[in-house]
Point group: C2
Chain length 357, copies 2
């Protein structure tokens, strides 16, 4: 099935919308939360459990998969879907963000970015073309262009240079996609510009001019106040075509996501639900709560009596607290199931609320 | 359902037999392998996955559960079955073996054993009565008496004293069970005696005289040669009543189990399949193999094409090797599923072969 974005309903109260994103590996209901499968697995989860919690798409990290096991091996396995036994859509990032946050001794030029692997210290060079070749080998449904993400705070000169370089790389990426034939997957351009209104505006305008089937908003949720993130997003979604999907990268907490949906964002990913689970925290509408707390010692009720996940339907807080304290893997696993299902149910409710307006 | 052991078929070639063990929580096909759930979970496995791989009974460790979360909490939760959400039979050991192998500064007297917790250094005292009270609080279907296990090699005097003390404790345990009314669960006596033929013989004879609904053979697979283990087992099963189940504790490797079945052993438990999995090894009929080997880098075939487990049906060696190398929990989990299923299928085949004789 070719790529298509279909808007089912626009909110009357905000820029929120409910849609369906058609991809080669299936249809995604938006707004959507995408669990992160950094190293070809969503941490602790098997693919059938991802199915069960209602995941419709997962994210793979190009930076990690490029270093290990490498795109050639995954291609030989028949692509990332087959390799990890996940038959629904996959979105891959470009590796840019990880290069900026994980890699050592990175050197950015107009040609691309050189970095030292966090695994073995070997030097690598990523270019706009190279990251597309890697993602094509992975066979992801939705690919990202190489971009340059800046930290927060960042002075304007630096933010401007990074944004302009990202736009140039967007153009080169689009060209590369046009030259390669028979590709089922699509490429998103990425809006940058730090927390500068005019830079965000210019970035969005220039990307729209290049014309992508979908747009990502990068470089947010990197330390700036929520209000500032929302302001940037608002400016950007006013410019991006309404009939294209908007992916707010790496966001985030429930309150970030709920606010961003009202500003027209459709797609989200974040390691928060899975990472918190491995640290013993479960998600509730009132925020995160740690299972290790003494008050749960003899609490034989589930984490959330309303939740339909395997964890909440079968295990008590006292039990999970015990196995977490005993460092049993099942504890991290059950909490991950709950936290991901919590996000899935939250998105489902958001979609239903908009449809019911 | 009350406890009952039913022999369906005796082998014509050996002392092997196929049976059904009826317990309050269901029927177990013997010979049976019991996955070990030390801390109220079989490491990495959820109860529904244990069901799926065909586990009919799991083992809980009294030593660990007594220290954390404690028998009172588990009793308040409604017993171990409810606490860990496992509705099939549970066998608990007495904690004796762990005291001898894990605990520090243990002191054995005729009254019981004093030891220092490996968790917090607090002193504990276990008596034959106390371990039954703990196991009753856990609500296990099959309980073990407190016994004294000796190391290998062990001089005869020490082995004799430990055996005689274990027999005295067996008598006290039987008395305690007779005095407590309305108990659904049953108690097994434990044969000791090191690797001394006459001590093993005396131990078995005296336990038979006390009369238990089932008998365990302890203190084997502690370092002695396999031939010696088999010799001891052979002596013991000649003495134990044929119509009672024989549980060879903590054994073991596939070849140990297959040999022991021919000598009349019905029940087995061992951490080998789960522990090996966490170290990257999978089980085959040719022995254990480590998934990290370079030859599996591009091996896109399953661990065992004949195996019906979730791991073998859905993932390649190359994938598992990759996620194991990336320290992903799913790797240990998938290998555990395979290794336990391997043992389950092995036992199933043994039962079928005897029935088909």
């Amino acid at each position: 099935m070719p790529f298509k974005f279909e808007i089912l309903k626009k909110s009357k109260k905000s820029k929120a919308r409910v849609g369906k994103l058609h991809t080669p590996h299936g249809v995604i209901d938006t707004p959507v939360f995408m669990p992160v499968g950094t190293q070809a697995t969503v941490k602790t989860m098997s693919p059938r459990e991802l199915d069960e919690i209602g995941a419709e798409i997962v994210l793979g990290n190009t930076y990690h998969l490029n270093l290990r096991p490498g795109p050639d091996l995954i291609k030989e396995a028949g692509g990332l879907h087959k390799f990890m036994n996940w038959n629904k859509p996959i979105l891959t990032d470009s590796g840019g963000f990880q290069v900026f946050s994980l890699a050592h001794m990175r050197k950015i030029t107009d040609e691309g970015v050189e970095f030292t692997s966090h695994l073995d210290g070997r030097k690598h060079f990523l270019t706009p073309e190279k990251v597309l070749e890697i993602q094509a080998a992975l066979g992801s449904d939705i690919m990202m262009q190489l971009d340059e993400c800046v930290a927060y705070p960042c002075d304007k000169k630096e933010a401007k240079e990074a944004m302009e370089r990202s736009v140039r790389w967007a153009r080169e990426s689009k060209l590369k996609m046009s030259n390669d034939k028979c590709q089922m997957n699509v490429l998103f351009g990425i809006v940058q510009g730090g927390t500068y209104r005019d830079l965000r505006k210019q970035s969005a305008e220039q990307l729209v001019e290049i014309d992508f089937p979908g747009y990502s908003i990068g470089g947010l949720s990197v330390g700036e106040p929520q209000a500032e993130m929302f302001e940037m997003l608002d400016i950007v979604t006013d410019i991006l075509p309404e009939d294209k999907p908007h992916y707010l990268m790496g966001v985030g907490y429930a309150s970030d996501i709920l606010g961003a949906i009202k500003l027209g964002a459709d797609m989200f990913d974040c390691v928060i639900p899975t990472r918190l689970a491995r640290h013993g925290a479960f998600l509730t509408y009132e925020g995160k709560v740690n299972i290790r707390q003494a008050r749960f010692e003899k609490d034989f009720s589930p984490i959330d009596p309303e939740c339909d996940c395997y964890c909440c339907q079968n295990f008590s807080k006292a039990y999970i607290r015990h196995i977490f304290g005993a460092r049993e893997i099942l504890a991290m696993h059950l909490l991950t199931i709950h936290n991901l299902r919590f996000f899935m149910r939250m998105m489902q409710k958001v979609r239903e609320d908009i449809l019911a307006e």
